[in-house]
């Protein structure tokens, strides 16, 4: 049923521009993150705190979903879930700050990266179109991405082989 596997967050950033004690222009970011399904919210001035908040809520979600599984399976799933979050915690703040500094540039960069992946995705993706994607569109996207992942894996093996023969 709905929302058992979904957690949504609304993040509000407010910028404060001010002159510091030495008269130099300065900027400060203040944030507030809300967990939609649970209703909790947290204020933050360091993005790491927002990441920690999300991690906390998502851990609860995973814990609730694996409650009926064996201890071994539970540990495996939670460990995988934490691994993903370690990566997000590492790269998330930088990505968000880059987007804040230059949102258009970042979107354009993402689009360029996507377009370089292969012929199938050579056309730039308009973000607005994603809002209208249907379930079958998502399925088809997932299948394409799975196929690409397999192709990349094969390619990596070939490169490994070639490196060894050299």
């Amino acid at each position: 049923m709905k929302s058992d596997n979904t957690s949504s967050f609304v993040i509000r950033f407010t910028q404060k521009i001010f002159d510091d004690a030495e008269g130099k222009a300065n900027i400060q970011w203040r944030g507030k993150i809300s967990h939609v399904q649970g209703g909790d919210q947290k204020s933050f001035s360091e993005f790491e705190d927002a990441i920690a908040f999300m991690q906390d809520k998502l851990s609860d979600l995973t814990k609730a979903s694996v409650a009926s599984k064996s201890t071994e399976e539970k540990e495996g799933l939670l460990s995988k879930s934490f691994d993903i979050w370690k990566k997000v915690a590492k790269s998330g703040p930088k990505m968000v700050m880059d987007v804040i500094k230059d949102p258009k540039g970042q979107v354009s960069q993402f689009q360029d990266q996507i377009s370089q992946v292969g012929d199938e995705l050579s056309q730039k993706i308009e973000l607005d179109d994603w809002k209208m994607a249907s379930k079958s569109d998502y399925k088809s996207m997932m299948q394409t991405m799975e196929k690409m992942a397999k192709d990349i894996s094969k390619l990596s093996k070939k490169i490994d082989k070639l490196s060894k023969t050299k």
């Binding site: 049923m1 404060k16 001010f18 203040r30 939609v36 399904q37 649970g38 204020s43």
Partner: protein, 268 residues
Amino acid sequence: MSTHLEAYTNFKNITKKIRVFTLGRFLMEIDGEVVDSKLWGRDKTLQLIQFFITNRHQFGLHKEVIVDRIWDLDDDDQGNRDFKVALHGIRKVMEPNRKSRNEASYILRQGASYQLQTDDIWIDADAIDFYVKLGNQVYDSDRPLAINAYQDAIDLYKGIYLPNRLYEDWSSAERERLQIQALNTYMALGELILNENSRECIRLAQEALTIDNTWEEAYRLQMQAYINMGNRPQAIKVYNECKKVLDKEFDIAPLPQTTKVIENLISI
């Protein structure tokens, strides 16, 4: 009469067959009569009309997307059936006398896409947008009109957007947008009336702080209003409260411009 004043007067006098209130509660009026909430029947029928209202500016919502967002069922056929029932429920409430062979007037269909036709529907969120936009446009050129427009917007902001859908992610963006707009409107109106009505200015700032107790501009505005009224102790009290909240929530100090208000006061 200026173009802006004319637009304001026309907008205020406009009458539409259906009026929808989404802030602080959900309520629909047809020809001035409030729709009994029981008429919606199932909650999903009500949720579907609220979803259409939330996405009123998006052209053509695909049925699959709607079913996915509201029902999220693994069984597509079941989702389609539920959608059809809910859509029928909406049409029954909004157009009770429509003959089945006649085209629906409010929920339009084009292929597998649907959209709410808002030409004959007044929605409080849209009215707020109109008043705030107008207030911003005449902020420097027509102060009395700006004050009236902002006041009308604030009068319509009765609380958060669709409170009964607080935990549905499809309503979050609109809720956040309107809340920020309300905060900014409280501040804009407060600044405009600061010197002529400090008491009301304090009330507006306090209203803003009930929405977000970390909104520093609201503390600053309140401090300035208390200073205008010659109430120095209360201004200092507000500053201390601001300091306490910002420290607790963000672990930061108030901005220099806020501290300066109190420093100027102490140095007098």
